[in-house]
């Protein structure tokens, strides 16, 4: 059955390149900020470099782990159990930064358990979606456990509050259910009540609602939008097509807040221009497409869903981050995968990519199923499948 013994090299190379790019951009975008905090210029750079080394180790280790290990029920349950416990534990032991309780303070590092939740949910969904009777089982057996688990996780994250992450895991979960053969009806019916709930949540006011209002203003004219997004777009414009050159960003002179974390893409685009930004976007698009290819060729259904979930996870994260930076979406607080300053997302992203690479070792070509394509048209299906074959 096995047709390849080696990992998907493209995914591996792109991941490594992005991981390497991270500390460089963190360095360029954080020196002034570090100076303003009266820390050495390379403070953030050095910290990120350490995380980078750990991330590469995780990437390599997980890319070599046998797949069967992940499939074990105790692993799946253990990871999910840990995820929920850690999320719940935040309310007692969490560290509050800027009014949000998202982190555990572990002495040397702040750990964000919602990063673990993403992986846990991917495993959980992959397990549930590959159980027999998915196509024909009733709601209680098939959809309910998944939505319940997803809902609980989202609720705990919303409570932190972290609307962005909650939405992202919701989207990952729904995206996973969507591509399975689960009845579409179940999915739609389960999601519908979420919209009034979301409206209610935002209707209470608070900073989330303000953010969305301000985003809407900025969508029309960034000059009147939120200041951070406006400064971010000023950075983009400064970069133009070719960019101002590495280290030459002016926006990092404290004009753009969080330049080395969530808004690092703006600094990249300022320093390397449209060309640099496009290359980053294409890198992530390639990761998504190749990841989906891995998903289609995975040796078993469980691995397929895991690979699919990871691809969506990386893609959504990257695109939503860029969407925030360019003002297309309201500010959510999502980092740019691999590049933004921070350890939690980098480690878990690397673990996820490690797993994806490990799946890619055992891929086999697959055949199309003509029966599925009726609803969406053959041409489209043919095009997309040619991408991921």
């Amino acid at each position: 059955m096995k047709t390849t013994q080696s990992v998907d090299r493209l995914i591996g190379i792109i991941t490594i390149l992005l991981i390497v790019l991270g500390p460089l951009m963190v360095f360029s975008s954080s020196t002034v900020y570090a100076g303003a905090l009266k820390k050495p210029q390379a403070y953030f750079f050095e910290a990120q470099l350490k995380w980078d080394l750990i991330a590469v180790v995780f990437l390599l280790v997980f890319s070599r782990l046998p797949l069967n290990w992940l499939k074990k029920q105790w692993v799946i349950l253990g990871v999910n159990g840990a995820s929920i416990v850690l999320l719940a534990g935040l309310f007692i032991f969490g560290k509050t930064i800027n009014g949000a309780t998202r982190w555990y303070h572990l002495g040397f590092v702040n750990f964000q358990p919602s990063e673990l939740t993403k992986l846990a949910l991917i495993l959980f969904f992959a397990d549930r979606l590959t159980r027999p009777g998915l196509e024909k089982g009733d709601y209680k057996q098939t959809a309910l456990p998944m939505f319940a688990w997803l809902g609980l996780s989202m609720l705990l994250i919303l409570k932190q509050p972290d609307l962005g992450t909650a939405l992202v895991i919701g989207m990952i979960g729904v995206a996973m259910m969507f591509v399975s053969r689960l009845r579409l009806r179940y999915i739609v019916l389960s999601i519908l009540p979420a919209f009034p709930l979301l409206a209610l949540y935002l209707g209470r006011g608070g900073y989330q609602a303000e953010r969305i209002k301000s985003w809407f203003l900025g969508l029309h004219d960034p000059m009147h939008g939120p200041d951070q997004v406006m400064q971010s777009i000023v950075g983009l414009a400064n970069g133009g097509v070719t960019g101002v050159g590495f280290g030459e960003s002016r926006q990092k002179l404290l004009f753009l807040p969080e330049a080395h974390t969530d808004f690092i893409f703006s600094i990249i685009s300022e320093e390397f221009g449209l060309i640099g930004g496009t290359l980053i976007l294409l890198a992530f698009l390639t990761l998504v497409i190749r990841g989906l290819r891995v998903a289609r060729r995975a040796p078993d259904a469980f691995s397929s869903f895991v690979a699919y979930g990871i691809s969506i996870y990386v893609g959504l994260y990257a695109f939503m981050n860029v969407a925030v930076v360019t003002g297309v979406m309201p500010t959510t607080g999502l980092p740019l995968p691999f590049i933004s300053y921070g350890g939690s997302h980098l480690i878990f992203m690397s673990i996820a990519m490690g797993v994806l690479l490990s799946i890619s070792r055992e891929t086999t070509p697959v055949e199309n199923h003509a029966s599925d394509t009726k609803r969406f048209g053959k041409a489209q299906s043919r095009f997309t499948q040619s991408l991921v074959r």
Partner: protein, 689 residues
């Protein structure tokens, strides 16, 4: 090989891929929009937030008197204001303010309760008076610093010097007239900021442009004489209870204006409060009928034409002399008087009868020659030429009226300057008040030349007229102008004011004047004093004479060196200017030639080195410095095309090339190509068109 069934729903899977691609495409388009299409809008904004332009104010040039005293200079001013919302302790602040300021506590309390965030408490406090204000401590107390003009001598010569607006733009007087000279070029520093506005970065691409201060204006005014004149005039004004008064002191051998005063004056430091009339430099802007002072010019014409010897006698009709349905009157009844007595006692009838044989045209020609009816050329703003109509339009009475100073008008500077021509040997000089312009390093950029306009009368006639004027002071109408330690001469004038509206002379309104000179033999000063509408004494001798005496008695002691008449004498500035002017441009000369030229003109010459050619000649007083070019001048031929012949020749080393010129106009061809090596003896042909 049997392939297993995919766990994915193929259609939905494809849909997800399409959604991801659309998402990516949307981002890509957005990036393109902001980075390419709309980039400029944001870039402009970005520049604004990164860079802040700091204009570096160039100080305005200083106005100096002839001795280097500052008449107009720049100092720091403070504006003090309050932000009522920021005030921490209103009671304490009001207490501090009342201790320092001139206003009552209630006034300050009201200001502290005023709406708005910026309420002025006081403005334009000079830095030397602001010390107590600066000690006031309160978060709501605002201190604002600015540079501004300051006139240390306040009202002295104020209408002449003028004043500036708060932005240092000249509004009046020399400040307005010489604004281009005085205004400097502001510099610019572009500083880069970070968002906190704390850290400043220097932009290497845009270096600081240093401000270039304005040039200095050096006046002929002597602040000591000006002070004396202002004080004497002020006292005269009080004594006569007149409406206003003017005085001019001129150096008769050069035309330099040493003092020029208007009273009542105004303080240019607070010019807004002054009336427009006080701001006018009435010495040149106001024309008036001069009256009897003009008799001197009629006398000059009579003597110069040889029509009447000084001892001619004339019957003065006991004060009434009918002429063309008019009666000409004297203020006192006189019988037979000599020409000299006519002047000394200022008899109108006498001068009219004496000038019976003087043709109208001749009188007109003399008066024109003395500068009447024309601007003096002193170059002060708003000067009026006065009126002197053509003889062809004169009525039968006109010549008589003009002969004693009616039916014509003059300005004070004009007639004082004309008097200078009576006493300096007969030469009319162009009066001037600007000695020159110096750059901020103190090098002269411009110097005013003494300009002798014409000879009007012979020195002999001048001597007779001087003796007439001595008589006026010794025993005539001007006895009150007599000096303590020196012999003076002068002429009184009492002119009834003419109302152009009603075309009548106004009863009881006079311009009393006295124009005189001292010392007698070689006058150092000519001084005219004019008092408008005196109410106590209205005769020129009584109203203006004492002011003249007061001025002269003091200023004659300022200098003890002998006065020598003519061009060789009194003042260096002007003479130096002529001497300098007559020097050719010596750049490129051999040092020996330049040395010979300069020594010929009595300069002490110093050279910086002994080889090369003259690069620069700098001259200061009697010393000249020759700066030589050690490196031999341009070894290669420059491109001369398009240059005028003069420019071209300046560019060529004359000692090396033999130049022949063909045609005229501008060089369009040169026989040696630009850049050719210049070896001695080569010949260059220039074609001009």
């Amino acid at each position: 090989m049997k392939r297993k069934r995919s766990p994915f729903h193929q259609g939905r899977f494809a849909f997800v891929i399409v959604v991801m691609i659309i998402f990516w495409a949307l981002l890509q388009v957005t990036l393109f929009r902001y980075q390419v299409i709309h980039a400029d809008v944001f870039k402009t904004f970005a520049k604004k937030q990164y860079n802040k332009d700091y204009p570096l104010k160039a100080p305005r040039g200083t106005i100096y008197d002839r001795e280097g005293a500052k008449l107009a200079t720049n100092i720091i001013y403070y504006d003090f204001a309050v932000d009522p919302k920021m005030v921490e302790n209103p009671d304490a602040l009001v207490r501090q303010l009342t201790a320092v300021g001139k206003r009552p506590a209630s006034w300050y309390r009201k200001k502290l309760a005023a709406p708005g965030r910026f309420v002025y408490l006081t403005r334009r406090v000079p830095s030397f008076e602001a010390r107590d204000w600066l000690r006031i401590q309160d978060r709501g107390f605002i201190k604002r610093k600015s540079f501004g003009r300051y006139y240390p001598f306040r009202s002295y010569a104020a209408p002449l010097i003028g004043f500036t607006d708060p932005d240092n733009k000249g509004l009046a007087g020399l400040e307005l007239q010489y604004k281009d000279v005085l205004t400097g070029h502001d510099g610019l520093a572009v500083l880069q900021f970070d968002a906190s506005r704390k850290r400043v970065f220097y932009d290497f691409d845009r270096p600081v442009i240093k401000p270039r201060p304005g040039n200095d204006l050096i006046l002929t005014i002597d602040k000591d004489i000006q002070t004396v004149v202002e004080n004497a005039l002020e006292r005269g004004l009080q004594r006569t209870r007149a409406q206003s008064a003017m005085a001019v002191v001129i150096q008769p051998y050069t035309g330099e204006i040493l003092a020029l005063a208007n009273a009542p004056g105004f303080d240019p430091n607070r010019h807004a409060a002054a009336s427009e009339a006080a701001k006018r430099n009435r010495v040149v802007t106001d024309a008036f009928e001069p009256g009897s002072t003009v008799k001197m010019f009629t006398a000059a014409a009579l003597l110069q034409e040889g029509l009447m010897p000084p001892d001619t006698i004339v019957y003065c009709e006991n004060g009434k002399y009918p002429l063309y349905q008019h009666v000409i009157r004297d203020s006192k009844k006189h019988g037979w008087l000599t020409f000299r007595k006519v002047i000394e006692l200022s008899s109108n009838i006498g001068i009219v009868k004496l000038s019976k044989d003087l043709p109208s045209n001749t009188l007109f020609r003399y008066l024109r020659s003395f500068g009447f009816g024309q601007k003096t050329g002193a170059g002060m703003l708003g000067e009026v030429p006065g009126t002197l109509t053509q003889p062809s339009t004169w009525s039968g009475l006109s010549k008589a009226s003009i002969s004693f100073g009616q039916e014509m008008s003059v300005n004070a500077l004009q007639i004082t300057n004309a008097f200078a021509a009576l006493v300096n040997g007969g030469y009319l000089y162009r009066p001037f008040v600007i000695r020159g312009v110096r750059d901020p390093q103190g090098h002269w950029i411009e110097k005013t030349d003494v300009q002798r306009i014409r000879q009007v009368i012979s020195p002999e006639v001048g001597a007779i007229l001087k003796s007439f004027m001595k008589g006026v002071v010794e025993r005539g109408t001007g006895v009150k102008a007599a000096l303590k330690d020196a012999v003076a001469g002068g002429k009184t004038g009492t002119a009834q004011k003419y109302d152009p509206k009603s075309r009548r002379y106004m009863a009881g309104k006079y311009v009393a004047s006295f124009i005189g000179f001292a010392p007698y033999d070689t006058p150092r000063y000519v001084c005219g004093v004019f008092i408008d509408e005196p109410r106590v004494h209205y005769y020129g001798g009584d109203a203006a004479g004492p002011v003249f005496a007061e001025i002269m008695n003091q200023i004659l002691h300022f200098r003890t060196d002998p006065v020598t008449p003519g061009l060789a004498a009194p003042v260096q500035g002007g003479l130096l200017a002529t001497r300098l002017k007559s020097l050719p441009d010596m750049r490129g000369w051999r040092p020996e030639s330049a040395l010979a030229m300069l020594e010929d003109r009595d300069y002490d010459v110093e050279t910086t080195s002994d080889t090369g050619r003259v690069r620069l000649v700098s001259i200061k007083e009697d010393d000249a410095v020759l700066e030589l070019n050690d490196a031999r001048p341009a070894e290669r031929l420059p491109d001369l095309r398009g240059k005028s012949l003069r420019q071209a020749l300046e560019l060529i080393n004359p000692g090396v090339l033999e130049v022949t010129v063909k045609g005229s106009g501008r060089v369009y061809k040169q026989s040696l190509a630009p850049g050719s090596k210049l070896t001695p003896g080569r010949s260059l042909k220039l074609f001009l068109k």
